[in-house]
C-alpha cells in the first residue's frame, strides 16, 4: 500500500461511455492481485475532493490498465487526461479474488463494467478452464477486451441473449456438469444479489466484488460498511475486508 504518482500513457474511448486508461508505473505494475483496486485523485484541487476507486483491469509489463465508465464529474475529467499527465494514486488496495483452491473451471460473471477486473483475473487464472458471462443493458455496455470464452446477454437483446446475465449463466449450468467450478463475479449490487442467491441454492462456490461509496479506500473512514453474514454485531469494510468477498460471508 503506497501513495505514488503514475504516468498516463493513453486514454482510449472504447464505447460511447467506456474508456481504457493505460498508465506507466513500474513501482506498482507487479503488485496487483486481480480484484484489487487503486484510489485515484483525478486532479489536484478540492473539486472533486475525494479520490475515485477503480479496479485494476490488466497489467502489461510496466503498465497498468483501467477500464472506466463516464459516470460523473470525476470520470469525465479522467477522459481529458493526456499522455504524460501524472495521477496520484493509493495502491494496491483491498483484497483481490482468491484464485487458489479446489476448482478446475472458473466462471467469470460480469455486469456492465463489472468486467473491469476480468482481464487480469483471466491471466491469474492460468491453468484453469474459463467461461465468461457478460451482461449489459445493450450492446454499448459490452466490452470483451482480454476475456476468454465469452457468452453475452443484454436487457434489450441488442447483443447475445435477451435477459440478465444471471439467467444466462443459470441456463448454461449444464455446461459445467462434472466440473469443479468456482464463480467470480463483479457488477451492480442487484445482479450480485440475484447471483448470490442462485449460487447458494445450487451449492456453487463463488466470490463477488462489491462496490460502495468510499472516502478513503484503505480503512480509516468507516464509510464503506457491508453486513457480515457471520457476525451481525459488526460491519465489514468493503475497502479493506473486500471489495472481493466470498458469497457466504456478506449480506448484500
Amino acid at each position: 500500500m503506497i501513495i505514488t504518482e503514475i504516468t498516463v500513457s493513453s486514454v482510449e474511448q472504447l464505447k460511447n461511455h467506456i474508456y481504457h486508461l493505460k498508465c506507466y508505473s513500474p513501482a506498482l505494475a507487479n503488485s496487483f492481485k486481480a480484484g484489487q483496486f487503486l484510489n485515484l485523485k483525478v486532479n489536484d484541487t478540492t473539486f472533486p475532493l475525494l479520490r475515485r476507486p477503480f479496479s485494476i483491469s490488466d497489467v502489461n509489463g510496466d503498465e497498468i490498465y483501467l477500464l472506466f465508465n463516464v459516470h460523473g464529474e470525476g470520470t469525465r475529467m479522467l477522459t481529458h487526461k493526456v499522455k504524460g499527465d501524472l495521477l496520484d494514486v493509493l495502491a494496491p488496495l483491498g483484497c483481490g479474488f482468491n484464485t487458489d483452491g479446489d476448482f478446475d473451471t472458473a466462471v467469470l460473471i460480469g455486469g456492465g463494467l463489472g468486467v473491469a477486473p476480468f482481464p487480469l483475473l483471466t491471466k491469474q487464472l492460468q491453468g484453469k478452464g474459463i467461461y465468461t458471462f457478460l451482461g449489459g443493458r445493450s450492446e454499448a455496455d459490452i466490452v470483451t477486451y482480454g476475456l476468454k470464452n465469452v457468452f453475452v446477454s443484454t436487457d434489450d437483446g441488442s447483443l447475445g441473449e435477451k435477459g440478465t446475465v444471471v439467467k444466462l449463466f443459470l441456463e448454461n449450468l449444464d455446461k459445467f456438469e462434472g466440473k469443479k467450478i468456482k464463480v467470480f463475479a463483479c457488477g451492480p449490487t442487484p445482479m450480485l444479489k440475484a447471483l448470490q442467491a442462485a449460487l447458494l441454492q445450487n451449492n456453487i462456490d463463488g466470490e463477488i466484488s462489491t462496490e460502495c461509496a468510499m472516502a478513503c479506500g484503505f480503512g480509516i473512514c468507516q464509510g464503506c460498511p457491508i453486513e457480515d453474514k457471520n457476525n451481525s454485531s459488526k460491519y465489514l469494510l468493503v475497502c479493506k475486508d473486500g471489495p472481493v468477498f466470498n458469497i457466504k460471508d456478506v449480506i448484500l
Binding site: 475532493l49 479520490r51 460498511p225
Partner: protein, 306 residues
C-alpha cells in the same frame, strides 16, 4: 531543522509540533501508519470510543459535496475493552501523544469510560466529543446545551488527572459561550470544530443520500466557518484552542494558529492525502524560515484586526 522550534504545549503536555490527526479520520492509527510516520506528528486522536462496541449506521454513510463531504458513520467503534487490548499496544510504539476521544449517550457513560481509560499510561489526554445525542434527554445533543457541557466537563475532570479537551459543536449561535463553560469547569483546552449538520437528496428517489438522513459536513468547504469559530473563541475566552476544520496544507495550519489555535487537527484530508501531515510539517518549517520565526508557537492568536 535549523533550530526552528515547532513544539507547542497544552496543560503541560508537550507536542513536538501542532499537527494532530483528528478523531474518526484515522481509525486507531494502524492503516495510516503505512503512509505516514506517526513519530513525526504531534499526536493522534483516536476514533470516538464508547463504553461498549457500536456497530454504527447502515450504508450509505458518506457523500461527497462541493469541496467537502458528509458522513454519518454513527460512531462505529470497538468499545473501551477492545480498544485497550488491541489498539493501544500498536499506538504506544510511537513517540507521539495519544489522545483518546470519547463519545457517550449519558454523562455516566462518559465518566465510566474515562475512569477505565485513565489507568492506561499510554493515553496522554482525553478529548470529549459532546456532539452525541443524550439518550436521557430524548436525544438532544449534549454539545448544544451549555449546562450539559459544563456538567460533562466537571464530571470527567473529577475522575482523571490527565488533560481534558472538550470538542465543541459548531452548530450553535455562540460557540464562545461553550468554551467559557468548558474552561470554568476545568477543561484544559477546547477542540473546534466538529462537523456542520448537512444533508443531500437523491432527486430520482427523493430519499436522503445518507441513510441517517443528515450527516456531518467536513473538508475544505467548512474551513472559513471553522476559522471564524476559532477566532470567536480566541477573542472571548482564554483557553488553548485546538483548531479543526478543512485544514489541508501548511497555509491553512498557519491561518488557524494566527486566528487563535495552539494546535490543529487534520481530518478529511487524511482520506485524500494520507501523507499530508509530513508535507505540512515541512511547509511550517519553510514559513518560519521565510518569516524568521524561531518558535512557531509565537504565532498563536497573533492576529492583527483592523
Amino acid at each position: 531543522m535549523n533550530g526552528i522550534d515547532l513544539s507547542v504545549e497544552i496543560a503541560g503536555l508537550k507536542f513536538k509540533n501542532p499537527i494532530l490527526l483528528a478523531s474518526g479520520t484515522v481509525g486507531y492509527g494502524y492503516e495510516i501508519s503505512q503512509f505516514l510516520d506517526l513519530n513525526k506528528i504531534g499526536g493522534i486522536v483516536t476514533k470516538s470510543i464508547s463504553l461498549k462496541p457500536r456497530k454504527g449506521n447502515p450504508p450509505q454513510r458518506i457523500v461527497e459535496t462541493a469541496s467537502g463531504m458528509l458522513n454519518a458513520i454513527g460512531l462505529a467503534n470497538v468499545g473501551v475493552e477492545e480498544f485497550l487490548k488491541d489498539k493501544i499496544p500498536f499506538l504506544k510504539q510511537y513517540d507521539t501523544n495519544i489522545i483518546c476521544n470519547i463519545a457517550a449517550s449519558t454523562i455516566e457513560e462518559y465518566v465510566e469510560c474515562v475512569k477505565i481509560l485513565t489507568t492506561e499510561d499510554a493515553i496522554h489526554a482525553f478529548e470529549i466529543n459532546v456532539s452525541c445525542p443524550n439518550v436521557k434527554e430524548g436525544g438532544l445533543i449534549f454539545g448544544n446545551d451549555p449546562d450539559q457541557v459544563s456538567t460533562i466537563t466537571a464530571a470527567v475532570k473529577a475522575v482523571t488527572s490527565k488533560p481534558v479537551f472538550i470538542k465543541l459543536s459548531p452548530n450553535t449561535a455562540r460557540i464562545a459561550d461553550f468554551a467559557i463553560r468548558a474552561k470554568e469547569n476545568g477543561a484544559d483546552a477546547v477542540s473546534a470544530i466538529n462537523t456542520l449538520v448537512g444533508t443531500a437528496f437523491n432527486i430520482w428517489t427523493r430519499k436522503p443520500k445518507i441513510h441517517n438522513v443528515t450527516g456531518g459536513l467536513s473538508g475544505p468547504a467548512i474551513k472559513p466557518v471553522a476559522l471564524a469559530k476559532v477566532l470567536e473563541i480566541s477573542r472571548n475566552c482564554d483557553i488553548p484552542i485546538i483548531g479543526i476544520g478543512g485544514i489541508s496544507n501548511s497555509d491553512d495550519v498557519l491561518e488557524f494558529m494566527i486566528a487563535g489555535a495552539t494546535a490543529i487537527q487534520l481530518g478529511t484530508i487524511n482520506f485524500v492525502q494520507p501523507d499530508a501531515a509530513t508535507k505540512i510539517v515541512n511547509g511550517l518549517i519553510n514559513y518560519c524560515e521565510t518569516m524568521k520565526i524561531n518558535k512557531l508557537r509565537s504565532l498563536t492568536a497573533s492576529y492583527e484586526l483592523n
